[in-house]
Symmetry: C2
Subunit: 338 residues, 2 copies
């Protein structure tokens, strides 16, 4: 029963989330029951959806309980097993939370998944070849349904979801335009990820200004859009959608930390006969195997080169999470806990 | 060559549309070419979409040209024919515009359609058994795709589209809740159209107030919504949609006459994984025969009893149209020109 450090949610944010919403706690890992597996985490995944769970308002997931370990995706290594399918040393993806160790009931389907780290580094199973990658895949393939030659836009393009979206869209013969914050991110998006263009929203502080940049980058208009951010960038994209365009609504991170940001001109949905659909990838488990196969192939072949921001040590998780909400990360935000 | 009175668009509105945007003009009907048919109009259709065409801003249709007859749907009677399929006396639906006579090229598919007035009065082919009815059908059947027992909401419930929507939804075993302006309209919606409930938005001037009324009328939440109006009513509906709800976006009339009205909380689309789709029924001609069959049956059997507001005389068209934009009509707004 190793000692186990955890980050727990201490109190709910009023307005912006802050490090003071969290505290560190120490427990012991419980003894294993039949079918259970003890995992030592290597990396924790930090994801924008966690902000929603910190509040009690209506969201798609039950709120994160106060005083309990923050929930979240993890990769690690089996250290003890009472399940015949797992042996110490196995590399696994799970939902172990912000702590050093977790116990998973491996007899529950979906609770733990063994992964092969021959061609794909373990950490990427939390990003490009994990939930964020499948998120991009679902929005692209099942909602946007692009044709070769279509122009697609994605916000937060250098992030875990956006970067996977770009590679998947290029593989389908689309023109892909990213939106990201800062010169470095934009350079990575075009030079390393192979996007056709990237717009630095920091140099375009309003819808009219970013609209001109979109006009230049999308001379044939926009056929499909993958939205992670919301706010004025989304408004500018909506006004430039071609008839019958499709919008996969994955996130609205710009409005998570305060009042909701309105959509300025819903009439664009009508005028251009758009379809917009919100989704949560964990509700579409049927696509995961196919999506993960394609994403693993893209990473293995070097066509998708995901960036990671890695915070060191469990104690760094709260600050790294706040940074993620403010766009301070570059690529997938992880915490290395070993 | 009978003399022909017309209403033409004289100038474009700046802000609210007004009668001063129109003027009357006199012409003669041209001599008929082979394949052409001369129609004497009985009724003109007035529809909210016409407001969009009066402006030059981006819309789904080309703007109405200045100085030319206002375009729009018409029903009438063939008075002269050089097409073998049409004989004087035939009752026809067409797109003849705001004038007493029109010449249709009957050899063009879709330009003219003969109708049977045995069970369905001629005017209803501009409403329940015409474009507005098919609009309701498409949004319900192709976008909302309801299941029996679902709760559906429609705004402008007493109008041509809303009333057809209610009858079609009841025929599919749904609970249907209307929103309309005024006690009389609400009474008609529940007592004559058979809606399960109707909310008078005039007694609920903001999203919070109408939200409480929606909570009372939709105790199991809202599974599908058909939007004609936009603004705070739409905001209140969005916040009450059940997971995976569908929204058919047909119109946003509350914002047509000025600045676009924002959507207050797009996050609801994400939180409840909603799909919203804008559409224009004239782009889905493939559904018209099936939809018109069902609508004709509902009207013929008395299950759908459409109301009409009939303005008398061509000269009354502009004022009637402005009244329609302000919700002064009760049911389908027509102009009787004979």
């Amino acid at each position: 029963m190793p000692a186990n450090l955890q980050i727990v949610l201490d109190n709910r944010p009023t307005g912006e989330a802050s490090e003071a919403n969290f505290r560190i706690a120490q427990t012991e890992t419980p003894p294993l029951k039949d079918g259970h597996v003890l995992v030592r985490h290597h990396y924790l995944s930090l994801d924008p959806y966690m902000r929603g769970r910190m509040s009690e308002s209506k969201s798609y997931a039950v709120p994160q309980p106060l005083g309990q370990v923050m929930q979240g995706g993890t990769v690690g290594e089996v250290v003890e097993s009472r399940h015949p399918g797992y042996t110490p040393g196995d590399k696994v993806v799970g939902f172990g939370g912000w702590q050093h160790f977790s116990v998973a009931d491996a007899s529950q389907p979906g609770s733990l998944r063994k992964v092969d780290t021959t061609h794909v580094p373990l950490s990427h199973y939390l990003g490009a070849v994990g939930m964020p990658g499948v998120t991009a895949w679902y929005g692209l393939v099942k909602i946007i349904e692009p044709k070769a030659g279509n122009t697609l836009v994605v916000t937060a393009a250098s992030g875990a979801v956006g970067s996977a979206f770009g590679a998947l869209a290029k593989a389908r013969g689309c023109r892909v335009v990213g939106v990201a914050g800062g010169e470095d991110k934009c350079r990575y998006v075009t030079e390393e990820l192979g996007f056709d263009a990237c717009i630095d929203y920091r140099t375009h502080p309003d819808a009219s200004s970013i609209g001109k940049a979109l006009d230049a980058a999308c001379p044939d208009g926009i056929d499909g859009h993958f939205e992670n951010v919301g706010g004025y960038i989304f408004d500018a994209v909506l006004d430039r959608m071609n008839a019958f365009g499709r919008i996969a609504l994955c996130g609205l991170i710009s409005g998570y930390d305060g009042q909701p940001i309105p959509l300025a001109n819903p009439r664009a949905l009508l005028v251009s006969r758009l379809r917009i659909e919100g989704f949560i990838v964990s509700e579409h488990m049927e696509v995961w195997p196919e999506a993960l196969r394609e994403l693993g192939g893209l990473v293995g072949s070097g066509k998708l080169r995901p960036r990671e921001s890695v915070a060191q040590g469990l104690e760094a998780a709260p600050a790294a999470f706040i940074g993620l909400l403010k766009g301070r990360n570059f690529g997938k935000q992880l915490v290395k806990v070993i």
